[in-house]
């Protein structure tokens, strides 16, 4: 089981901010493929992952990173802090 979080417009498009998912995905990209296959709103939200960022257990990471032992995956658009 893995916690998946969505922020900003990604959260709005998917319609929720957090969900618990049972997955065998080996990498972030695999997880994204699984999510896309679920429903239209996921497919649309994850259409272009080059415009998205991912954090694994609250550390910025890459879409080809492995999910081994990861408990929290967060997807979001580029940050606009400051």
């Amino acid at each position: 089981m893995i916690d998946v979080l969505y922020f900003a417009w990604l959260r709005e498009r998917i319609g929720l901010g957090r969900e618990r998912i049972s997955t065998q995905a080996a990498t972030v990209n695999d997880l994204v493929d699984e999510l896309r296959a679920r429903e239209e709103r996921y497919a649309l939200a994850f259409e272009d992952t080059s415009s998205l960022r991912v954090a694994l257990d609250q550390e910025l990471s890459d879409f080809d990173a492995p999910l081994d032992g990861v408990r929290e995956v967060a997807f979001f658009p580029p940050m606009t802090g400051g």
Partner: protein, 151 residues
């Protein structure tokens, strides 16, 4: 010191208290970010953040600044939630023996907070609502700190 909060704060009060009574400081630089509404079309700015990761990411940036420059003190305060035009979003302050270190460290902190701290801004106007898009120039600004390491 780091604070991530929804409450408003007065950067002046924070500056007065910052690095107070220390005799090894010659220079203090502060940056204050304000909700701008030049065209008078903005009603509210909503700032979303990623609780937990926000504190981790900013602490890491502050540690990096302390490693790069000889800083007597560093302060970051960043708000989230609904803000009105003219309200203070965040502030950064740095204290050092010399002015170059204080200026560079504050500049560095701002560049990294812009693009590496998990905040997202949404502008709610009278007629339209839009997420603020990250700027290429903000991402490019980070190169300043990787290409030539500061002293």
């Amino acid at each position: 010191m780091l604070r991530v909060q929804s409450d408003s704060f007065d950067p002046g009060k924070e500056l007065s208290a910052f690095a107070k009574g220390r005799h090894d400081i010659g220079a203090i630089v502060s940056f204050t970010g304000v909700v701008r509404d030049t065209d008078k079309t903005l009603k509210t700015m909503e700032i979303e953040h990623y609780p937990g990761m926000t504190e981790r990411a900013i602490s890491k940036i502050m540690d990096e600044a302390r490693t790069r420059w000889n800083l007597a003190d560093v302060l970051v305060i960043h708000r989230h939630g609904a803000l009105q035009p003219g309200e203070v979003i965040m502030m950064v302050a740095t204290a050092s023996a010399h002015r170059a270190a204080a200026f560079e460290a504050a500049d560095f902190l701002m560049d990294y907070l812009k693009s590496r701290a998990p905040f997202w801004k949404k502008e709610i106007g009278a007629n339209e609502t839009a997420w603020v898009a990250a700027k290429d120039e903000d991402e490019a600004a980070l190169d300043r700190w990787t290409s030539s390491p500061p002293d």
